[in-house]
């Protein structure tokens, strides 16, 4: 799956798609592949205030649990209710129907701290090492 150019990325493998002053947030294809079959997502409620790079929730697969970090600050407008019944959407369509939350962005200049698609690809490539022993 190619990394879409229309959005920004964090080093914690979240993406953010800006539309006006609202933004949609999800996790990347790389992240869902690493996690495996998603079984449960724990998301903040509507009205919650998120702070950039701080924990906003958790995502669980069969064998792993990972924290979710807000790529930008803002107020949660809605969460993706479809994930309650079908958490597997995060695996099958991480950039589309597998989105997690929508927020009202407080400060669009925060996006400068995020990576472009190209930079993100370079980042994930560098995370694969040549050693059996992980750093």
């Amino acid at each position: 799956m190619t990394t879409p150019n229309d959005r920004r990325y964090s080093k914690e493998h979240e993406w953010l798609l800006l539309t006006g002053d609202t933004a949609r947030i999800g996790i990347t294809d790389y992240a869902q592949d690493q996690l495996g079959d998603i079984v449960y997502v724990d998301l903040p409620e509507a009205g919650a205030q998120l702070t950039q790079f701080e924990k906003m929730g958790e995502i669980e697969s069969v064998k792993a649990v990972s924290e979710l970090y807000a790529p930008a600050s803002g107020e949660v407008i809605r969460t993706n209710d479809a994930l309650v019944e079908k958490p597997e959407l995060v695996n099958s369509d991480p950039y589309g129907d597998g989105w997690l939350v929508e927020i009202r962005i407080a400060d669009t200049s925060q996006l400068d701290a995020l990576l472009t698609a190209e930079d993100y690809d370079a980042f994930t490539a560098s995370e694969q090492t040549d050693e059996a022993i992980r750093p």
Partner: protein, 457 residues
Amino acid sequence: MIETEPAPSMSDHPPIGDDALHPYIPLTPDDRAAMLATIGVADTDALFADIPAHLRNPDLDLPPALPEPALVAHMRALAAANVTAETHACFLGAGAYRHYRPALVDPLVMRGEYLTSYTPYQPEVSQGTLQTIFEFQSLVCALTGMDVANAGMYDGATALAEACLMACAVTGRRRIAISDRVHPHWIAVVRNYAHGRDIAVDVQPHAEFAVTAEHACLAVQQPDFLGRVSTSAQSWADAAHDAGALFVAAADPVSLGLYRPPSDYGADIVVGEGQSLGVPLSFGGPYVGLFACRDKYIRQMPGRIVGETTDLDGRRGYVLTLQTREQHIRRERATSNICTSQQLIALSTAVYLAALGPHGLRRVAELSYARAHDLARRIASIPGYTVEDDEPWFCEFVVRTPRPVDEINRALLEHNIIGGLDVSDVRNRMLLCATEMNSDDELDRLVGALSEVEASR
């Protein structure tokens, strides 16, 4: 299939001498030589070269090995040195209860396929264990009235402690209220677990509970430490819920063959000691803690859980599930650190329940109730003895005795009777238990011996 070499001829056996073999270690001198050659070292010392040389081969001050017949004789001698319920009439309860163990339980539970199998992390070859756990979970739900149960905990006391910690995690509060009528050893364990996480424990007087918005839960026990069953439990649950706290009930599972389950009176979490379900007294362990709760708390529930699913061919099977709560994944954020628990004992209780069924379990509870109440009635008519009977109770009761309890128990021992627990306060008080296992003859002997003590004053 893998080819193996033909077995050596039986006339090739090595001389039995200094290189005597041990039945637990199949390594022979020939094996050792061949393996060292493959590894490419001269001797096994080379394999321990990383150990600082001056610390190697320490003296081990232990008695020399016992051959099996001597070992069995030694173990029999140690066992025979104990006074036990096998040779004496036992009227002790206080958290461990002697109920009839159906004959089919041991031969099934002690099968090597159950006894020597591992934690079922490879479900394709562990369906025996996994299905028995699924059934155990279902049986615990049936007994307690809760929605979900786990695969068991170390014992009832630690199950209660973990339930209190879970209530703290669910509510975000750091204080628990617990009835002073819970078994004192259980309260001690709860204190210990709470202390580790800087959680405060308020032991509150029975039926005078004061649950506030600071408390994560109110915890009670039915029957309580002195055997009593209350009719007011619903009001306690209401008080807890009004304060936004959870209501945790510890219940004896045999009593649940007879009494209303905690789900009837507002429990959010139910725990219990599974030992009374036909598990041997065994000087305190191994036992098994029962743990069950309402559906909405399932992600905070500690311990292993088995769920139903299908395999690639669509056949039904069982797997460990919701493992992301556990230590091997969440590590420091795990709901608990529990890894190994008490699986074989849980299996034993499930087989016990299958062997008894609803009518059998109810009958065991009824008979225990009846033996104990009959005993109490007879003791009450011995001059000098008073039975504390102002509240309903199951199969344990308190007797006020005319002499100190340890004096009475020494006298009872002369009659081959193990007496009750000393629960004296300013008065001499003994906690006596009777179950369906105490025969008429045993009751007669106890009543006779108690009468003698009083008469000899």
